[in-house]
Amino acid sequence: MGFLSATLSMSRYHIQNRFENEPMEQVRNGLIKNAIPKLESEYEEISAGWTPFESPYLPDFEKFSFVFGTYFLFSLRIDKKSIPAKLVQKQMAIEIEKKKEKSGRDLVSKNEISEIKEMVMDVLMHKMPSIPNVYDVLWDYEAADLFLLTTQKAANEFFETIFVKSFTLKPIRIFPYTLVETKSAFSDPQKDRIMTLTPLHHSR
């Protein structure tokens, strides 16, 4: 469990807006509706969705809680099929040979190679199991703070998309500018002054 690991990495979000009522129920519904499917799709290259923190591979929000004290804790799982390039190369070589034998020609056209590649990718995609990656999410709803336990760009993008779809709340990534906008008590004139700052130069 990443969240309880000795070492972790994280990116931070501020959650804009709030639910009008019953936040716990709204979160529960969003998690259930957008949970990762229990059965893996054979043809989808990537599938992503929520899963309970305590049960990353059996996404059952009826059995496992996402509420820990005043926090919501759950996980984003991204399953990806990854076909090694060398395997594609090998299957392509085999299929091209078969095509040559069947046609009695020494050469295979560009179009035929494209068709073979498409067919090879389909077959391999169907056979290949997905590799799951699990990223924990800690959400302090009251404070509108959220930690996503990864700094991988692709995972952040998936998270942002699925979060909006699930809860219709906007996660704003925390970095220098957004920290000033969302967490500071600076007055408007002070903010204006910050926005006119330029990089420091230490050389002489």
Binding site: L4, S11, G69, F147, T151, P176, Y177, L179
Partner: protein, 178 residues
């Protein structure tokens, strides 16, 4: 609020300036506890890595990475003299007598990697799970609060009227060993 992608690119330098300033605070023994008005003593030390970047005349970038538990940082200050900025820094932060956190923070994104917090109590039972989660959550929020407060304090200094004559001069004095 500006468009997020635009703001990220436009104001990323504030984060790099901030982590450079953190290094200055550490090297010049500034009283961080008083600065952020924290209830317990706060100390910061440079950990085992420091990364600096310098944009060269042709817009290409020079990257200087210093790694090692007791690595000398002279090359870093030399790079600062040439106009480089710290882009990421590994820090050891002590809150009070017992809580020690180590992590690397990237200036531009504020991404935190390799974060080690004090251990959250573990006995493996289901009843303890909630306790462990709450304790870990508390530790994560505590360290991020310290980082945020330091950053906002830095900005407060940057926009103060005496920044150019005081804060900036002190930093330059440190960098150039005056």
């Amino acid at each position: 609020m500006l468009d997020i992608a635009t703001a990220y690119n436009k104001y990323g330098f504030l984060g790099n300036d901030f982590v450079t300033w953190l290094w200055f605070l550490i090297e010049t023994d500034q009283n961080i506890t008083r600065m952020i008005a924290y209830k317990d003593p706060v100390t910061l030390e440079i950990g085992n890595s420091l990364v600096l970047e310098n944009t060269l005349g042709d817009k290409s970038k020079e990257k200087i990475t210093i790694k090692g538990d007791r690595a000398g940082l002279e090359e870093g200050t030399t790079a600062l003299k040439k106009g480089a900025k710290v882009t990421e820094i590994n820090l050891v932060c002590k809150l009070g007598q017992e809580e020690e956190y180590t992590f690397t923070i990237k200036g531009e994104s504020f991404n935190i990697t390799g974060l080690k917090t004090p251990a959250a109590g573990k006995d493996g039972s289901a009843d303890e799970m909630e306790g462990m989660v709450l304790e870990k959550a508390l530790l994560l929020f505590r360290i991020t609060q310290v980082i945020d407060t330091l950053f906002l304090q830095y900005l407060e200094q940057r926009i103060s009227n005496d920044w150019k004559d005081n804060g900036l001069q002190q930093m330059r004095k440190w960098i150039h060993n005056d």
